[in-house]
Amino acid sequence: MVLEQLATQIGLPEWLLRGVLAPLVYPGLGAFAAVALFIIWAERKIAAKVQMRVGPLYVSRHLGGALQLLADGIRIAFQEIIIPVTVERKAYVAAPIFAFAIIAASLAVIPGGPGVYGFSSSVSLLVPFALLGLIPIVIAVMGWASNNKFTYIGAGREILVTVAGEVTLLASLLATAMMYGSLDINEIVTMQIEAGIPGIVVNPIAAFLFFVAALLMTDRIPFDVVLGEQEIVQGPYTEYTGLLFVLNMALDYGKLYALMLLFSDLFLGGWMPFNGVLLGSLAVFIKTLVLMLIAIFLRSVYGRMRIDQIASMFWSRLFPLALVSLVVSAVVHIVYTP
């Protein structure tokens, strides 16, 4: 297809081109930068609309303040990165960069369109899950290296939240895999297109669980206990400044982007109405954007839940529901497999 032609023209092996373009351009960091610019602007504008305000306005008044985030980014890029003397320097500096690299790596596996992926594997569904599962460890390192009580507490909360959220997330992923009898994301999308029914219709419980668990793992309100501004300032990111802080802020949006991309592949039929590379990629991209908009809209409705409430909600209500979704998948698999 397009990538193969491009590879032959440049004279590079196709796997190398894929491995570079997917994590760095689309669906990787380049697309993520555009998404982040739009989503954070939309988050501010939507919240402002609900809250009877104007939102970002002064930077690029004709575009409704759309370039505000860019202006903030430029300002913060020139800001001094203050490294407190009490921190573990190497871990403190490396952790945010490492966490961000993990997100880019996970984006190499999730297809952003028909044939638009970095690597394909028969177990590609487990790869992003495993990679994103590394981030809490990095955040714990961040909290420890920052050497501050607020960051310790934030790191502890991150671990607690991850343990609660990942089980539900994995259960919903496995339910999907069981339903289609495959662990390959590309194959799952193809099966949805062939059947003509997106996964959310067949197994809405799994889709719901995936979405809620994704909200928890990406610190969206009402589950933003890790950031917890009113108690622990910025959680594990309290001591960061300048570009390192921007990386940390983008971390949650990056996680959200990766998970919502996965959601549109697994439950919304990926590039469903289209088959071409361009239109198909656009379909996935727009589905992801809409999902992210829903996720950020919750900010204007809810406050923050307490940790014990979140833990009990996930372990005693959502986890049994995950078992139900596995049963649904098993039934669907038996009924519809020819």
Binding site: Q51, Q230, S300, G303, M305, R306
Partner: protein, 401 residues
């Protein structure tokens, strides 16, 4: 489960065997501390002791008031609670009036009541907004602060200033009711009643918010009385007390009934504030309906005004005689009290017959409520601490004076 720590510092506690207590300093540089510092002692995630460290915004109001003439003290004590300026100055004005043997005309009393209630609504909205953001509910925060503008506008219309409106002065008020105020208030009342229903939907009945506030920071009735809690925090615990019942300004004529809660948890304290806004709206409406005609200033201060500037009176403004700045009171002591948005404020004024107060002692509601910080969060988690703080409507500049 609370651990008793009789008179022990955090670092001592940490050394005690069996205790793993972390000392957490919240504030004064913290998103949710206000102008103060809270020293929390945490065992795991459980708060075992709270040490509120007040005094960061102490402005020596009591001492400064001894150096100023009586009328200049009004604009000084307004700065204690700038969001509630009428309520905070009214008992002082009444104290000086008692020493001067001056009685304000009935219309002035009604106008004071109207502004006090407008201020109370604005103050409650301020507290509710902060209560929202303490739970990271930014919509409640923005809504309450946005709707507060309506009442600042009403205050502006009545007095000419949004916040520090030095409206009640000895013997009356400075301005008469402007034309069109009644219509404007009717509009504001309709709007606010509609908004209160929306507040109930998005905040008070929001399952997440309910989960955060219900059964958190319970203040029992006996406890509330023995600790000397005041204001909505006291009434939420089921105590039938409101300083407005003691009958100052026009309250005795208005058939005022306070809002009383039952359990005294954080949710109930928010509920009392929401319902008190409704009560205040009714009070203003009744006061506007029953507003008596007549002068707005005591004859004693207006009779000496030269006829040349008397035309100001017809426009509803008051011109005061030059001697008003150097009023001499009789020697004596007075205690007055009033209900502010945050609770009951008490003034103890001692005069030795000079043009300045000999001593002005102020007990503000927040200064009385600060003790609740040491009691309510014990045994709750760290996350409950902002919820309790938000429900108390504590205002550090007022407590520090």
């Amino acid at each position: 489960m609370a651990i008793k720590l009789p008179g022990m510092y955090g670092h001592e506690v940490g050394k005690q065997e069996g205790y793993r207590v972390v000392e957490l300093f919240i504030g004064p540089q913290h998103p949710a501390s206000g102008h103060m510092r809270m020293i929390l002692y945490l065992d795991g995630d459980i708060v075992v002791k709270v040490d509120p460290d007040i005094g960061y915004v102490h402005r020596t109001v009591e001492k400064l008031s001894e150096t100023r003439e009586y009328v200049r003290v009004i604009s000084l004590i307004e700065r204690m609670t700038i969001i509630d300026a009428c309520n905070v100055t009214l008992p002082y004005v009444e104290a000086v009036e008692r020493l001067l043997d001056v009685e304000p005309p009935p219309r002035a009393k009604y106008l004071r009541t109207i502004l006090c209630e407008i201020n109370r609504i604005a103050s409650h909205l301020y507290g509710l907004g902060l209560g929202g953001i303490f739970l990271n509910h930014s919509t409640m925060y923005m809504w309450a602060f946005g709707d507060r503008e309506v009442f600042l506008h009403l205050a502006n219309m009545l007095t000419g200033a949004r916040l520090t409106h030095t409206y009640s002065v000895f013997g009356g008020v400075r301005r008469d009711l402007p034309q069109g105020f009644k219509d404007e208030f009717a509009k504001a009342r309709r709007y606010m009643l509609k908004r209160l229903k929306e507040y109930d939907k998005i905040f008070y009945n929001n399952p997440v918010i309910r989960g955060r506030l219900e059964n958190v920071g319970i203040l029992k009735r006996e406890h509330a009385i023995s600790l000397g809690a005041t204001g909505p925090n006291l009434r939420a615990s089921g105590v039938y007390y409101d300083a407005r019942l003691t009958g100052y300004a026009a309250y005795p004529d208005l058939d005022f009934r306070p809002v009383i809660g039952k359990h005294g948890d954080a949710l109930e304290r928010i509920w009392v504030r929401l319902r008190e806004i409704e009560v205040s709206l009714d009070l203003i409406e009744r006061a506007l309906k029953e507003l008596p005609e007549g002068p707005i200033m005591n004859e004693r201060f207006t009779k000496g005004i030269p006829p040349k500037v008397r035309h100001w009176f017809e426009k509803g403004f008051i011109k005061l005689p030059g001697g008003y700045v150097r009023l001499k009171t009789k020697a004596g002591e007075v205690i007055t009290r009033a209900e502010m948005g945050h609770g009951e404020i008490t003034y103890y004024l001692v005069s030795n017959g000079d043009i300045k107060p000999y001593r002005l002692r102020v007990v503000t509601p927040s200064a009385r409520n600060v003790i609740l910080f040491t009691v309510l969060p014990i045994g709750h988690t760290l996350m409950d601490f902002p919820a309790i703080y938000g429900s108390l409507d504590y205002f550090p500049p007022e407590a520090d004076r």
